[in-house]
Symmetry: C2
Subunit: 493 residues, 2 copies
């Protein structure tokens, strides 16, 4: 330490780490308000708040991220001073599994929990793709019932609506991993052949993006994309490929029709039959809860990347089209997802603890709402009291205190600049009103109130007629003793 004491300090560069961002008032409040609304929905469904720490021991967290080709396999990890490796959580589900296993005997079962908070991914950052973002989850551990899956789906739909997505602008697409597992058994792929299984899952997952032809290539030898990059395929033979493609074509207009089509294609396999029966029970519960096809749709091509899913899986798709940097219309895609993960707690306990849940991508949802023109309104700033006389500061501070006492956000300008700069400051603070007390006002026992909202309206209005101006003047002189009442009146305008 002492070695560097006398060397001239070099200035650090002020910058956020790569892939991390600062969130300022409006964007932040939009996110937090979504989180609050969504948590309130989860709690109304009986889900109890729980917050696990940011860190988990690496072995407890496990490795379930879809892309494991990054350093530390996609997580931020460090070695504690006792030699144990800890990782920042990459989602809220793996820590829940650890919590449930650790507290099994003391928990009411099934255990419903909800949580919101940041998760971290050690991934290559990109536009709109950050290495720290918020998720808002609800999970039910200890129930194998399909009603629990249906609940996750219906609650997800409720949550998305509470967050501000109008009905009709989203749909929950539901499938079941067992359907595809039945299909794989039928075309002779061994359950232990992880590589081929994953290859098929990933190919089917890309149906929306690549179309049937692209998926067929990925199921077979492989596919070269527009940039020339080649992705190796799952290596199926033509007969198997056509059966997988028949499977992806079971998506029909209604849940009942899809169920019938699925029964035909995979219903004769053990797993496929189970999958269809579970979806049928989910359909019945969704109907009881009043969710039609416009809100919850069966789409057998839905796979979801996370490897811990074992049964029903679903994702919430935002149907709004937005425009990208190049003016191209783009579908926003998934803003939340979920599914059943019956083996995650078993990693710790050795016995099954069936579980299912839903996770909402908060930042993604807010970005989607903004892009679709549903951004929340910016909030008004505080009333700003100008600081015109150094000797009168105590009085200015007192005014602010009185306004706050009446529930009105208020502050005194505390810089050293003149009146013009102070007015500009108030404007940048989005202040609705400026309070001015110069020496003339003070000697007469008055203050001047300036209505900045009105100023902004007048500046925008072409027809700024004088009569209206008089009725609602942009600036009034009021007795100092009547400050609070006058501000209240002006804010009510």
């Amino acid at each position: 330490m002492s070695e560097t004491k006398n060397s001239a300090p070099s200035r650090p560069l002020a910058r956020t780490p790569r892939g991390f961002i600062d969130r300022r008032a409006d964007a932040l409040m939009a996110e937090r308000s979504v989180v609050e609304k969504v948590l309130r929905v989860y709690e109304s469904w009986g889900y109890e708040r729980l917050e696990t720490p940011s860190f988990e021991y690496a072995d407890a967290l496990g490795k379930f991220l879809p892309d494991q080709d990054r350093p530390n396999e996609g997580v931020f990890a460090l070695e504690d001073d006792d030699g144990q490796w800890m990782s920042l959580r990459y989602d809220l589900t793996a820590p829940l599994a650890r919590f449930v296993a650790q507290n099994w005997d003391g928990l009411p079962k099934p255990f419903r929990r909800c949580a919101a908070g940041p998760v971290w991914r050690n991934e290559k950052p990109g536009p709109g793709r950050f290495r720290e973002f918020w998720q808002c989850d609800a999970d039910c551990v200890g129930s194998a019932r399909p009603e629990a899956d249906a609940e996750a789906i219906a609650m997800g739909a409720d949550a998305v609506e509470a967050a501000g997505v109008p009905r009709g602008l989203y749909v929950v697409n539901v499938s079941n991993r067992k359907l595809l597992d039945g299909l794989l058994a039928k075309i002779g792929i061994d359950a232990g052949d992880v590589r081929t299984r994953l290859g098929v899952l990933r190919a089917v997952d890309k149906l929306d993006r690549l179309g049937a032809q692209g998926v067929e290539l990925l199921l077979g030898a492989g596919r070269k994309d527009e940039s020339g990059d080649f992705t190796k395929g799952a290596g199926l033979n033509p007969a198997a490929i056509s059966q997988v493609m028949a499977f992806t074509a079971t998506r029909k207009a209604t849940r009942k029709e899809t169920l019938a089509a699925l029964a035909e294609v995979v219903g004769d396999t053990e797993l496929g039959g189970e999958g269809v029966a579970e979806l049928a029970a989910i359909d019945a519960t969704l109907a009881a809860l009043g969710l039609g096809e416009d809100r919850a749709f069966f789409d057998p091509a839905i796979v979801r990347g996370l490897e811990y899913y074992t049964g029903p899986v679903f994702e919430v798709e935002l149907l709004a089209e937005t425009v990208d940097d190049k003016g191209q219309k783009v579908r926003f895609g998934s803003i939340g997802s979920g599914g059943r993960y019956d083996d995650l707690v078993m990693r710790f306990r050795g016995e099954r603890a069936p579980a299912t849940g839903f996770s909402l991508g908060v930042s993604r949802l807010v970005a989607a709402l903004s892009a679709a023109g549903h951004a929340p309104q910016a909030r008004s700033g505080p009333v700003v009291i100008l600081a015109l006389d150094a000797d009168a500061m105590a009085g200015y501070m007192q005014m602010a205190g009185q306004l706050r006492g009446a529930g009105i956000a208020a502050e005194v300008y505390l810089g050293q600049s003149g009146m013009k700069a102070q007015m500009k400051y108030a404007d940048r603070r989005n202040a609705p009103i400026v309070v001015i007390e110069g020496s003339t006002e003070r000697e007469a026992g008055n203050v001047t109130l300036k209505d900045l909202n009105l100023g902004a309206e007048l500046a925008q209005s072409i027809d700024s007629n004088e009569a209206w101006r008089k009725e609602r003047p942009a600036q009034i002189l009021v007795p100092r003793a009547g400050l609070v009442a006058a501000v209240q009146d002006m804010l009510k305008r």
Copy 2:
């Protein structure tokens, strides 16, 4: 990856990392509710929400923690894949300095910001001492005015009261680093003699804990504590020690008296004079804002550990006495602190950006409130609908949906156990009401409602007289169609 595929997986142990904890519903909600109330106070003072990322580049974060003898000097750090070191923030102030320096030209100045979130300290964990905890801060950057310091103090007091600490149970103790700097100059300690300066600061900081005698030892040769550990002292001569002790005795009953005493002891030095003048201006503003000595007190012995403070410093002391594990009465001590740090932004920019702020230790405050008997009430759980018939699940789910539609939290039991276990489950969920629809009820078009709150009251009451029981029966049979209204009635009791 493929190498380990065939080895039998060993089960990870389910445990939280050392020094980290899970927070469950009641404790978590108590913390979050404090955060919300405190942020609302900050916002009413004109402070704008801002959230910086968890990570900062290590050089941008700097090294300002009091204990630098731990690995990574008290922070959690890791190397990014581009070779840059990143650290998890150890407070919310250092990241704010980085943000302000990075966005200087675009910010309204002075820039008032508030923030709440977790911070991480790579410290040895202990009882009640965690390595991840929440802070809730408000800072004003760009104002050198003492009114900004007074504002931080008064706002801190408001925040603590909003969080639920009754007036009279806390006091904000205020001092100014310049007082001590003036004193050090007076007794001939060079400003560049960092080691002696820190030694004196730390000794004075321990006045409350060690008493005058202990401080005297630490100012001189050193002190052996009860366990026999020796702490090396600042090495002052006896004359200097007596001047420092005279300084610590300037704490008087009123702010005005303390100011007079301080003027006498250090007012004749340049820095001491500045310090007294700043405190006098702070006193005037506090008086204008209505804060008497019962809320904001001048205590020249207050130092605060963080090394970036340059002027006024303060801490919020909880006055409640609590009882420790051994039944000993203990003072809870500091639940929040703040001060002026004029050089922190300058690290990046080269020119001064004066700043001052306040930081509340959320977890500590909630723990203190609980220990002092002011813990918030546990919230009621959801209405629980029992699952008695597998065939009737859709109907049960529908009931829950109808209750939620009326704004009542409700859930269906989704396990596989019998009625007795389900009742026990409802009890553990803190359910106010259980809804029971067996086949008898269903055939008659009825449901039974069981009032668990009443059950709990009856169990506690000695005088369980029959008349009262009839007027408010613990269990009623109602038509299925009247479920929602009947539940609403029962909740209103």
